[in-house]
């Protein structure tokens, strides 16, 4: 018996976890609550298609279920879920020969925060950077920079949450973000032709 969405929505994350441990059907609440964001994240970090990303997410959720008693309520549940999904995605990514081969990710919803930041640094004739272009630059970044950019600007996680997801100190998150932005700017400057720039 699947739990109705209405009933799920009335419960907090912790309540869902507690109930799921008593009755597995409540686990579906957790999946439904976080699936859209996590699926999008998996697609962005792996460059996988819809089916591939769903498989990765499904495997990640089996791990989440197996480790549900290990969840520390001192941490945001979303950060813990992102951590497991991230590790599963990175592990899947390592099995691929190259990042985003045959990718079909729609980057049209790319978070404008990063675009604004880049636009301040690299002004273009059009005044905006096409999502495909941005995707291309991000995909050229080393994995450790790509993941902080995705988590900060696309998933909109704060430094503390990113630190919990990647299991690195917050200071390291800040340093990596800074370097990642610089690397992006450098790539952007090198890519944009002179007549594209103002």
């Amino acid at each position: 018996m699947l739990i109705a969405s209405k009933k799920c929505n009335e419960l907090t994350d912790q309540e869902v976890v507690d109930r799921a441990l008593r009755e597995v059907d409540y686990f579906s609440c957790l999946y439904e609550r976080y699936e859209p964001a996590l699926l999008r994240y998996v697609r962005r970090i792996t460059g996988a298609g819809q089916d591939g990303a769903e498989d990765i997410l499904q495997d990640a959720f089996i791990k989440i279920w197996r480790n549900l008693r290990g969840y520390d309520p001192g941490m945001k549940l979303s950060s813990w879920l992102y951590r497991i999904v991230h590790n599963e995605a990175v592990s899947a990514l390592r099995k691929q020969t190259s990042f985003g081969k045959n990718r079909t990710v729609d980057w049209a919803d790319a978070e404008p925060l990063l675009l604004h930041h880049l636009l301040n640094e690299v002004e273009t004739e059009e005044g905006s950077i096409p999502a495909e272009q941005l995707h291309s630059w991000i995909s050229q970044l080393p994995q450790k920079y790509r993941e902080v950019i995705l988590l900060r600007y696309f998933e909109e996680l704060d430094y503390e949450a990113i630190s919990d997801v990647l299991q690195i100190p917050e200071g390291t998150v800040a340093t990596r973000l800074n370097r990642a932005r610089k690397a992006l700017e450098k790539t952007a400057r090198a890519t944009l032709t002179p007549n594209q720039k103002k």
Binding site: L2, L21, V24, D25, F27, S28, Y31, E32, E35, E54, Q58, F61, I62, W65, R66, N67, L68, R69, G70, D72, G74, S163, Q167, I168, P169, E170, G171, T172
Partner: protein, 242 residues
């Protein structure tokens, strides 16, 4: 059937159960016990290093026959320094893998591990435990040269002006001293300098600096207590190895 439903059905059909709570509790305990043990080992090593520094007079380095670096390496408690370094590395590693260990930078992890080992080690050293540990180690490990052995070697070079041993007799003109090899020396101490805290009486262990004036005669220019005695004032009674 939506994906959430499929997931729950998969869990049910494959009888996938969450790991039991005790596994997480055991892991937590294992990590913190590991951290405690490595800090303890680091503390013991640090206390013996302190004991060595207290015992060995590094100023003698310049008078040793070989190079300064060679002399320093022979005097440093390298085995304990290695223990300390390994223990610090392991305690950093275990702390890093504690529940929130990833929040700490490498410098902080090193700082915490070092601070705990230094505090505990200093307390152990002050309590006199370092000397007992060092001697117990020397008795059980044949290849290990104890601090006392190193020190005796350093102060058993009368030809170079260094002599150590135990006073067996005191007269106004001379001291009778038995060195660490059992040889008795007559010490002229008329011109010697010695601190007021030293008791020139039979049974007192001392170290002398001066000049060898005969086969069993030595003229002292200064006399110092054998030094580095444990704070409870007891002279080590056991000789580690013959």
């Amino acid at each position: 059937m939506n994906t959430a439903h499929k997931l729950v059905e998969q869990i049910k059909s494959q009888h996938i159960a969450p790991r039991p709570q005790w596994q997480y509790t055991a892991l937590k305990w294992a990590v913190w016990t590991g951290f405690g043990l490595t800090v303890l080992i680091g503390a013991l090593a640090f206390s013996v290093i302190l004991f060595t520094i207290q015992q060995v007079d590094f100023r003698l380095l310049q008078h040793l026959g070989h190079s300064w670096l060679e002399g320093l390496l022979s005097l440093l408690p390298l085995i304990w320094i290695t223990f300390l370094a390994l223990a610090l590395l392991l305690s950093m590693y275990t702390l890093r893998y504690s529940e929130r260990g990833y929040k700490f930078t490498l410098a902080r992890l090193a700082g915490y591990s070092t601070a705990f080992s230094i505090l505990l080690g200093t307390a152990f050293f002050i309590s006199g435990g370092a000397q007992q540990l060092e001697q117990a180690f020397a008795i059980r490990v044949d290849l290990y040269q104890s601090v006392q052995e190193k020190k005796e070697q350093l102060w058993n070079r009368p030809g170079e002006g260094y002599l150590g041993g135990t006073i067996v007799r005191v007269t106004p003109e001379a001291l009778q001293l038995e060195d660490f090899e059992g040889q008795t020396w007559t010490i002229d101490y008329a011109a010697a300098d010695w601190p007021p805290r030293i008791q020139l009486e039979p049974g007192e262990a001392v170290k002398l600096s001066g000049e060898k004036t005969g086969a069993a005669r030595f003229k002292a220019t200064f006399i110092r207590p054998w030094g580095g005695q444990p704070l409870n004032g007891q002279q080590p009674k056991m000789r580690p190895k013959e």
